[in-house]
Symmetry: none
DNA sequence: TATGAATGAGCTTTCATTCAT
DNA sequence: CATGAATGAAAGCTCATTCAT
């Protein structure tokens, strides 16, 4: 029984001209997309293999044929999710910008990406609920380390040299902070909306949030 | 018909020496605690009623006797969780402090509370995965609105009047930001640790994080 | 542990002046009525002890105190049901009527009683589903034998002697037939209504049925 | 997604020699038969899915795979039960007989069918206990309307034209009466036997009942 | 490559019944 | 006489997974 482990090669790479059946590839992609949606909607525990098959319009057995088990499927989805955001980050070109613009741009990007990809947040929550035991199994996890950290380090260093940023900022800490400012707001928007009795997802509210976040990040980074 | 006795008596009050057999309350509290742990560990979907009964050392049937269903039990746990943190906040006495100390104190408190109560984070994630449909059913949700928002508003105003804080800061936004800086780091620590290949939960790392967070919040609030 | 077996004394008999607590009696009667309704509505299998307690507005434990078990309670209800209809039959005074009027009156009575006491039918169905195993346990079952059989026999004999009824009619068979003509129509009215697409319980339909039944019975009994 | 293959193909058609493995149909038939027996024996409420699976010698899960729920299974059984009796009625050929013989034949058929198919009675009782809510969901219910009503109407009309039957007989009423005379006797035979202290199911008793029923029906239909 | 049929283990929930006072 | 608390057994149903083709 063959287990052709699939997925998420960087799409730019020209497909090697071997005819590994277009159908096979398409099926796997269908499954992956369907699974992503299902996991995002219900979490790992609440996701149903049946529903994934239905969403993908494919036989359930096929999921096992390609992905072995629910857990492995989840891992595959997770890896693809990371690959996707890394891919998006690659188009940011922060190095072309001034330090201030760079930070602003990164903050905006993070915010917008989370909004456009709500599954990202739910998926990450699921992964962490299960203590990242999935990631530990992944060999591709190392590659997931964002190249942004490097870039962000460069920006901070440039800014410091220009005398506008404070020194001693850990790019990892700052990266986590930017993400955290966006993530918490979006991830917990239901709870927060219920508690504060105001709709946090209106266009106005979202704009205010982004503005606030930028202020916080720049307020911190900029020297007095 | 049972009486799902709820909770959050001020824990200071010394229990009047019950003449025994008032086990109803104790049973409900046992269930609530056991459920909190189970939900925190496995999420709503992954939690098992059997395990909750086992943890509480009580008959499974009793859970239904007092709490009707898994969902209702989850809601009860959620309400108690909120009641607990509100109770803790009540002891903060931020108004006694200078604006700067107030902000610092609030940041520390948030950070420490999340660390001491890891279930808080997981529970909130679960609640949000289910789109807060539990909270919507709750009539007590309004009371959950943190009185801290008011206090935080006062602090910001005081600081502004003293000429040390910038103006126009929305206390809700700031509250969410403080929480977000802590929450994301802790909630996603497994994923982040795996990706960055460094242990984010070591004592040193945790201290660094708190220090960073405080810098960010004050860096933002303080006028240049 | 005392088990004061209750119920269904012929209500005319003056209560012996022993103070077996009015409350006790009232409780038992409440339970009996509540149980009758519940069993009639849901059958023996579908009936719920909880609901009976709720209907009777009494503690569930009390039901067991007085009636030992669900099965025994069902038997008690059954006995009371029979006692009730026997009691009603006692007021018929068929012997005062002409044979033809007697038959007509009995048919009408049967029909009207079933209509006024829909629980009678459901209860009997339940009893028979369980193969009357309840009745076999009952010592009072002998007393349940309708005295009407005797009366009906007299009527038939009188009619025969007057030369208007055919001879050789078995009163038990006729009794069962009268009951059957009414019972089946009412017991299966839902199914029949659905199948024939007409409402069998409208006033008009009910009158037509009674008229038809009387015609059948008299058409059979009367000599050509 | 399974295909709850229903039933009642005209059984005459010789099964095309299936190339094996078309076990789906056989499984569903097994379930249906087992369910019919279980429901007949214990009613809807008392029936156990476990026992049905055991009877059918199939995995319990499969029942849900094909029939979704206990209620739906019950409906399927009910529909099959009706289809079966309708099928049997189709072989009666009452139109070939004289009016008197036609009525006699119908009475005999009804009686014998109920005796040979005791599940029919219990199933109907269950359906009616639940107020035919199952039938209301069924789209096939219209087709269940007995074609016999038409035939019976023809017989009555023929008899009336021949001057031997009385006029104005509603075939639906008569159909219900014939069924009722048989149904009540058989459905309540346990209760009745207990009360009258005589075995109503002995061969002799059964013959007497049929004879009585025929007399009643003909006595009613025949003109004086 | 693809699929419909089948399953064992286990889930939430229900129920009649008993305990303890 | 009356009751709230508690329970073991089992019910209907679900789920990830495998079989057989």
């Amino acid at each position: 029984m063959p287990r052709p482990k699939p997925q998420a090669e960087p799409p730019e790479l020209p497909e090697p001209a071997e005819p590994r059946s277009r159908d096979a590839d398409r099926s796997q992609q269908s499954i992956l997309l369907a699974a992503r949606d299902e996991f995002a909607l219900h979490g790992l525990g609440g996701a149903r293999m049946d529903r994934i098959a239905e969403r993908a319009d494919l036989n359930k057995r096929l999921i096992y044929y390609y992905f072995t088990s629910k857990d492995d499927l989840f891992l595959a989805v997770l890896e693809k999710t990371y690959a996707d955001i890394r891919e998006a980050e690659r188009h940011l070109h922060l190095t072309d910008l001034s330090p201030v613009e760079g930070l602003r741009r990164l903050t905006e990007f993070t915010w917008n990406y989370y909004i456009k990809h709500p599954e990202f947040i739910t998926l990450l929550n699921s992964a962490n609920l299960h203590q990242a035991r999935h990631l530990e199994k992944s060999e591709r996890v190392r590659e997931m380390n964002s190249p942004l950290i490097q870039t962000l380090g460069d920006i901070l260093e440039r800014g410091r040299k220009e005398g506008i940023f404070r020194g001693g900022i850990d790019p990892v800490q700052l990266y986590i902070s930017i993400a955290g400012l966006a993530y918490f707001y979006l991830s917990n928007n239901h709870t927060l909306s219920a508690i504060f009795g105001r709709d946090l997802m209106s266009l106005k509210a979202r704009n205010e949030r982004l503005s606030h976040m930028t202020d916080v990040i720049l307020g911190y980074a900029l020297k007095d």
